[in-house]
């Protein structure tokens, strides 16, 4: 009799534990599923995010090729970045659901995507041509003249995509805004440095002298403000700064590389070996700042 009671009690206990376990497991599965969707959304945003930097990187490398500066290496680099841009761009425009989502808020969005598609197709073709023939002047001209338009177009897509992903919940949207500002700003130094080096190369080749000088000056100021803001915070840029030791360590690496880049960028004329140093420091900076981006994305330092 006692044994029977014990068996019944044990059975009831196991049933309860299972029921409770099932409840926890069931709820966790639902949340995991929702989070998987969020992670996918984040990936789409990351595709757009890296594209801005690539436009200037490709243009820089094409200018280096046209100057016969380690041409075969930069022919390869340019096509590598163009292929990556192309792959990510098509992932974005083939995602009809994402475009429809953005279109609900911005009716012009599909039109802008089409425009970007046309500009990019010509841009990509030009990079392909230069990767085979470094003397293709027409293609160099097209890239020099259109890289900023490409950057502006991709920035438009990027900004509007982010906005279309904003939650309808005020609290969640507000929390997400703080993060999206940080994520947007932390990647920008890579774009600025690429653009400055590209403009420095344009000056060297006597292309768009006035605009390039102006853009360099503006980018130096933006970089100084942004690098300080990432560390200490800045109300205008909507950044709170960071106290994360690992991020601060990586930021100081980026900062010292930026100081070296700045000195060279501000020099009136660079010797060949100084060009080599500048290009190397530019690449080192991208690598260092990418580490900052990775740590920032993984951190929750609000």
């Amino acid at each position: 009799m006692v044994l029977k009671k014990i068996i019944i009690l044990v059975f009831l206990g196991v049933t309860f534990v299972n029921a409770n376990g099932n409840l926890m497991e069931g709820l966790t599965n639902i949340v995991d599923k929702a989070e998987d969707k969020k992670a996918e959304d984040k990936k789409v945003l990351n595709y757009a995010f890296k594209q801005r930097m690539r436009t200037q990187w490709i243009a820089r490398d094409i200018l280096l090729v046209s100057m016969d500066f380690d041409a075969s290496h930069y022919q390869n680099e340019a096509i590598k970045n163009a292929n990556a841009f192309n792959e990510n761009f098509y992932k974005l425009i083939e995602s009809k659901a994402d475009i429809e989502k953005a279109e609900k808020l911005y009716p012009n969005f599909p039109k802008k995507v089409n425009e970007l598609n046309i500009t990019w197709s010509k841009f990509y073709e030009s990079v392909k041509k230069i990767s085979k023939d470094k003397k293709d002047k027409e293609s160099v001209k097209f890239i020099v003249e259109n890289n900023i338009k490409l950057l502006d177009d991709i920035s438009y897509i990027f900004t509007h995509f982010i906005n279309s992903y904003q939650s309808s919940d005020k609290l969640e949207a507000s929390m997400a805004h703080i993060k999206s500002m940080l994520y947007t700003q932390v990647g920008k130094p890579r774009l600025y440095v690429n653009r400055m080096v590209k403009n420095k190369l344009s000056l060297e080749k006597n292309i768009a002298v006035k605009e390039s000088k102006k853009s360099i000056q503006e980018d130096i100021e933006k970089m100084d403000q942004l690098m300080k803001a990432l560390k200490d915070g800045d109300k205008e840029l909507e950044l709170n700064g960071t106290e994360d030791r690992k991020i601060l360590e990586k930021l100081s690496v980026s900062q010292s590389l930026w100081e070296e880049v700045k000195v060279l960028i501000q020099k009136k004329k660079l010797k060949k070996e100084e060009w080599s140093i500048l290009i190397q420091k530019n690449d080192d900076f991208i690598e260092a700042q990418t580490e900052v981006v990775k740590l920032t994305l993984a951190s929750n330092d609000n």
Binding site: G13, I30, V31, A34, E35, D169, L171, E172, M175, N300
Partner: protein
């Protein structure tokens, strides 16, 4: 000499007692089962330990990170001692309680209260496409578009603490759906207080 020895012994015994960081005078820790393994919930024993994490911050942008009221409607607010008692009770076979971390996953994945489950506040909103599934799993029954919460466990909700509205929003959503306020408990201190007391985080 004798006095010196007595004084030394007294000081030594005092320092041994003083060195322990208990939860209350009577409670040193509680032991729970988490994923089939025993887990001790206690305070960090190092009396020199200081927070260096996010929870050492005094100031955050408000909105969104605004100070929360002590009570939400008629929902009962609880502190750490009550929460620990409930966590202990949840270990019993006949317990009918669920501890819910209402924060979004990015916060939750940085550490949470042992035995809790993550159910972000956004998923409890009326518009959430997961709401039906969640409420059904909890044991609520839908009839003519209205939810009956009679058979759900008591839900203990928390988020980051006194400066975070995620738990508040989750409670408001549940109450708006018809969940009786006495089926909900609000641990207002949340992860902020849990961390400041050095309690075990999973």
């Amino acid at each position: 000499m004798k006095n010196k020895i007595i004084t030394t012994l007294l000081l030594l015994s005092y320092s041994l007692i003083a060195g322990e960081v208990n939860i209350t005078e009577e409670l040193k820790n509680i032991v729970i089962k988490e994923n089939g393994k025993e887990l001790k919930i206690e305070r960090i024993q190092d009396t020199k330990h200081r927070l260096t994490s996010n929870f050492s911050k005094t100031s955050r942008e408000c909105p969104p990170f605004c100070v929360q009221p002590m009570t939400i409607g008629k929902v009962k607010t609880i502190g750490e001692i009550e929460l620990l008692k409930h966590i202990e009770e949840m270990q019993k076979e006949d317990s009918n309680m669920l501890l819910i971390d209402t924060r979004t996953r990015d916060w939750n994945s940085e550490g949470t209260i042992p035995s809790s489950i993550n159910l972000p506040f956004t998923m409890l909103k009326k518009e959430s496409k997961y709401l039906k599934k969640i409420l059904s799993l909890l044991g609520a029954k839908e009839r003519d578009g209205r939810w009956n919460f009679q058979n759900i466990p008591t839900l203990i909700l928390f988020s980051n603490g006194i400066w975070d509205a995620q738990a508040t929003k989750a409670i408001e959503s549940l109450v708006a759906l018809g969940c009786p306020e006495d089926k909900i408990l609000y641990y207002r201190g949340g992860m902020q207080n849990w961390n400041i007391l050095g309690l075990t985080v999973k």
